[in-house]
């Protein structure tokens, strides 16, 4: 639809016309700002805690132990614009102190996009329970971790 509009605008005399191929779903999925009735509903972007501990591939189990605090997971990031590669569960702390995060992490955890509403996410968690929901942009950048109880509570308040 937007390529047609772009062509039509050009034919109407607009001199510099671009078509954003990814369009709205690409924009919203990457956590970029949007407006409208949907924007006011509780979504994963607002329910996610950005304070989840993060680690690099070269960190050790000892690093994880030192920095995990009260969390039951840490996320492993890599790359110049860090993306989520894996997760480390608190259970991994049983491993030898000198083992690298790369050896004890779980590769490619399921992630969800920031625009997903609590109302959409809650039934999914009821069908397939999980201890946490990892939220990343389409590009894989970490937004944070949301807890199921917070998602269910937000869904209930949104629907009431």
């Amino acid at each position: 639809m937007s390529p047609r509009a772009a062509w039509r605008l050009e034919s109407l005399g607009f001199g510099e016309v671009y078509d954003y191929v990814g369009s709205k779903m690409d924009w919203i999925g990457d956590g970029l700002p949007f407006e409208g009735t949907f924007a006011d509903r509780p979504r994963l972007s607002t329910l996610a805690d950005a304070g989840v501990p993060t680690f690099g591939l070269g960190d050790t189990v000892r690093d994880v132990r030192d920095r995990l605090g009260g969390w039951d997971l840490g996320l492993v990031l890599a790359g110049p614009q860090p993306v989520v590669l894996g997760l480390v569960r608190a259970e991994a702390l049983d491993a030898d102190d000198h083992r690298r995060v790369e050896e004890v992490m779980e590769d490619g955890p399921s992630t969800y996009r920031p625009h997903v509403s609590a109302e959409e996410m809650s039934p999914q968690l009821q069908d397939k329970p999980a201890p946490w929901v990892i939220v990343t942009t389409l590009s894989g950048h970490l937004v944070g971790v949301a807890r199921p109880e917070a998602i269910h509570a937000a869904a209930r308040s949104d629907g009431s």
């Binding site: 639809m1 937007s2 390529p3 047609r4 509009a5 772009a6 062509w7 039509r8 605008l9 050009e10 109407l12 005399g13 607009f14 001199g15 510099e16 016309v17 671009y18 078509d19 954003y20 191929v21 990814g22 369009s23 709205k24 779903m25 690409d26 924009w27 919203i28 990457d30 970029l32 700002p33 949007f34 407006e35 409208g36 009735t37 949907f38 924007a39």
Partner: protein, 67 residues
């Protein structure tokens, strides 16, 4: 010929003054649209574009997704 761009280009061009144009219908617009966008639905483009858009500034069109 309109150039195809990605979200990084959109941010760069918008910061330089480009107009972001949502060409979807009213229901989709009301539900969600890119912050700061202008609504010019495709069905009323000829009528509304001259009213709502500045022909001297760049224009970026978008719809729902890439399909």
């Amino acid at each position: 010929m309109p150039e195809e761009i990605d979200r990084h280009d959109v941010q760069r061009l918008a910061a330089a003054g480009a107009q972001i144009v949502d060409v979807m219908g009213s229901a989709e617009w009301e539900e969600s649209h890119i912050a700061g966008a202008v609504h010019v639905p495709l069905r009323k483009l000829e009528q509304l574009a001259p009213e709502r858009l500045d022909p001297d500034r760049a224009v970026i069109t978008y719809c729902y997704d890439s399909l």
